[in-house]
């Protein structure tokens, strides 16, 4: 080979390498719609912020176009629904799974990632929440369970034990009322916060009867549903939810707990970060299993909960599947999840960031069954009405049986009559 041919060969090789490296470094942009923004220094968004920062640094060929819709999920959900109906929208969106996600999956709007995410380690509950009809459509790095937040300082001062049965719980509430401390902080003005209490009561009276009701084997005004509603009404009448439960929002409820004006709250583990933060509260708050009902059906290991932070890929991202899988896999990594300030991780090997989250994680790991939030797991036409129905139980003049009967009629419209 002559010298000029060698030069020619060298030039061609270099040119090919340049072209190849150009191809390899071709930018892929993933549009992601989420609730938390990346700009503010918000402890609630630490996971998302550090995850995006680190992923972008490690994957220079992928650009993330992150669009935040605010912490109220409704704005994001509404935008996603309109966009996907028009075959537009993001490549990935934040989702809590359930029927909302399932409806999109049913309409073929989501990307099937069953095989691609098969090796990603997660809990069965989290995997199930992001699946529909046996196919996996996304990930849930954090899983929320509802449990009993207890103000341990107040309990210690009044020499109270954390209740393990409903009878003990009622006795504790009586003592708290007598000492001018609101037993339960709820925030029922926002409709949904009382749902977890009702779900647990239904479970404690009738086990997993909710699934039977959805399968149309029992009616929604069957005994356990009515008994649970009457119990909420009774507790409300006895002042266990404070004097003004219907006009307290969820923010008010948190404030009552943070300031020690209320001693108990039955809510999701997403509050662990807030209640464990010394800058947010000077109270010592613990997280416990919801008491059982003596003679009831449900057990302490029957939990209510669902995805806390989750992401789902849309079918418009089919051509970018590799980038989507890389992002979702990183979002499920220990490295990414351990930046979280308070949520319960569904990824094995992630240490809880504080004592309260650790307590919630312990409750989570003991779970034998997990029932998803009803207002996320019923057909959309039934989700808002169930919250309104349950909210009405807090009022003394509500006919619980009649309200549930009206709800049953709506259910019959959507799911059919009980067989």
């Amino acid at each position: 080979m002559t010298k000029s041919k060698w030069y020619g060969f060298l030039v061609m090789t270099l040119a090919s390498l340049l072209v190849l490296s150009g191809v390899a470094m071709a930018q892929t942009t993933l549009t992601i719609w989420a609730v938390d923004g990346l700009e503010l220094d918000d402890p609630h968004a630490y996971y998302v912020q550090s995850m995006v920062r680190n992923f972008t640094a490690d994957n220079p060929d992928i650009t993330l176009d992150w669009v935040a819709f605010g912490t109220e999920g409704a704005a994001l959900n509404n935008r996603v629904r309109v966009a996907l109906a028009a075959n537009q929208g993001p490549d990935i969106f934040q989702s809590w799974g359930g029927t909302f996600m399932g409806e999109f999956a049913r309409m073929g709007k989501l990307l099937d990632l069953t095989d691609d995410l098969a090796d990603v380690a997660t809990s069965e509950a989290a995997k199930s929440a992001m699946s529909y009809d046996g196919k996996v459509y996304g990930i849930a790095p954090f899983f929320a369970i509802a449990g009993l937040y207890v103000n341990e300082e107040v309990f210690e001062k009044l020499e109270l034990e954390v209740p393990t049965t409903m009878a003990e719980l009622e006795a504790v509430c009586e003592v708290l009322v007598a000492n001018d401390i609101q037993p339960f902080a709820v925030g029922a003005r926002d409709e949904w916060p009382i749902l977890a209490t009702y779900m647990y009561l239904v479970n404690r009276y009738g086990g997993n009867i909710f699934e039977d009701a959805v399968a149309r084997e029992v009616r929604f005004d069957a005994d356990p549903f009515v008994q649970a509603g009457l119990k909420i009404q009774e507790w409300s009448g006895r002042g266990f939810f404070g004097p003004t439960p219907m006009s307290e929002g969820y923010g008010d409820a948190q404030l009552l707990m943070q300031t020690g004006q209320a001693a108990l709250q039955l809510s999701g583990s997403w509050l662990c970060g807030l209640y464990a933060d010394a800058n947010q509260t000077d109270q010592t708050i613990g997280f416990y299993s919801v008491p059982i009902l003596e003679g009831g059906v449900g057990s302490a290991t029957d939990l209510m909960g669902m995805t806390d932070v989750g992401f789902v890929a849309t079918s418009t991202a089919a051509s970018k599947k590799d980038a989507v899988v890389r992002f979702l896999t990183y979002a499920m990594s220990v490295e990414a999840a351990e930046k979280e300030a308070g949520r319960v991780a569904s990824i094995p090997g992630v240490d809880p960031p504080n004592r309260l989250t650790g307590m919630a994680s312990d409750v989570f790991t003991q779970a034998e069954t997990i029932q998803f939030w009803w207002d996320q797991n019923l057909p959309p036409a039934l989700t808002n009405p169930i919250n309104l129905t349950i909210q009405s139980f807090l009022m003394q003049d509500t006919d619980v049986k009649a309200e549930l009967g009206r709800y049953e009629i709506l259910v019959e419209d959507e799911l059919g009559r009980v067989q």
């Binding site: 629904r81 926002d190 409709e191 404070g242 006009s247 008010d252 959309p380 808002n384 309104l388 909210q391």
Partner: protein, 308 residues
């Protein structure tokens, strides 16, 4: 031969006029057609469908309307908006007139400053007004609660302004009265100021009291403006959504629910676009009927007054 030439000239002028009219009206017509008439027509069509916003739409005839009228929530919303409209006309308009009359006829330094205060509520976005409402009525840290605690008024402390179904509507209405009255005051002030000062002077020289002057001269003079206010208040009440939704979400137990809230719940929370559209059609028809009736009444009244 002269006649055909005239016709030809006329035709030429007509074409020019038509082109001129078209040039100016077409853009507005296209925009109105695309963003108003077509959506209205689509809303009517959708109201006869079962639709979740996805996939196929199924024709269900009048079923959506039947379900809506059978719904206690819709019926309560219907009652609430008409109650709201009634009290808006009975309370808000007289109050706006009274304040406007005072501001125009008693020009002191204090009243001059109050004008700005009265109008302030009208320039605030609804979200801010709603936040203020929650801040005032909140049972944990609200202004009323804090005040009641500080003066030891337990009876006031016990009132659940937003959580008691018998009180929540009126708490919200009082907030709305403050929020919406500003426009009425400014509008009526502008009309009252049009009354020639000689008329007022003549009335006062003849011995009329301020009340007589207001009743016998000012009210007849601004009657058209009052009727316009009544139409705006009524139609605004029928369409009411933002303030009740942001303060109470329509609760407790639908005590503050409005037709707008039922529409939002059906379409955007329950994914029942067909039913949402049907509620939209009902709101549209009610507003249309009220506007036509009230304008017909106004025109008749004007014709009658011209006769006399």
């Amino acid at each position: 031969m002269a006649v055909p030439q005239t016709i030809a000239r006329k035709k030429k002028r007509d074409w020019y006029g038509l082109g001129f009219i078209t040039l100016f009206l077409l853009p507005a017509l296209v925009i109105l057609g695309a963003f108003m008439f077509y959506p209205i027509k689509e809303t009517f069509r959708l109201s006869f469908m079962r639709s979740s916003g996805f996939g196929e739409e199924i024709y269900v005839g009048w079923l959506n309307y039947q379900r809506i009228f059978a719904s206690p929530e819709f019926r309560q919303g219907f009652i609430n908006v008409f109650t709201w409209a009634f009290w808006s006309v009975v309370i808000q308009i007289p109050l706006a007139f009274f304040i406007a009359f005072t501001c125009v006829n008693f020009r002191t330094r204090l009243i001059g400053r109050l004008r700005g205060v009265y109008y302030l509520s009208n320039v605030l976005p609804s979200a801010i007004t709603a936040m203020l409402g929650v801040f005032i009525f909140s049972p944990t840290s609200g202004v009323i609660k804090t005040f009641a605690k500080s003066v030891g008024w337990q009876w006031l402390e016990r009132i659940d302004f937003l959580g008691d179904p018998n009180i929540a509507f009126w708490s919200l209405f009082s907030l709305a009265t403050w929020a919406y009255i500003g426009f009425g005051i400014i509008y009526l002030m502008a009309n009252i100021e049009q009354i020639p000062s000689q008329i007022r002077e003549a009335a006062l020289i003849d011995g009329a009291t301020q009340l007589q002057y207001a009743w016998r001269i000012v009210i007849p003079y601004v009657s058209y403006a009052l009727r316009v206010q009544a139409i705006l208040a009524t139609v605004g009440s029928i369409k009411l959504f933002d303030l009740p939704y942001m303060v109470t979400l329509g609760g407790p137990r639908n005590a503050t629910v409005t037709l707008g809230i039922t529409l939002y719940r059906e379409a955007f929370l329950n994914w029942q676009y067909g039913r949402g559209a049907a509620i939209g059609v009902i709101i549209f028809l009610i507003c249309l009927a009220i506007t036509v009736l009230q304008f017909a009444f106004v025109n008749n009244a004007d014709t009658t007054s011209e006769v006399f």
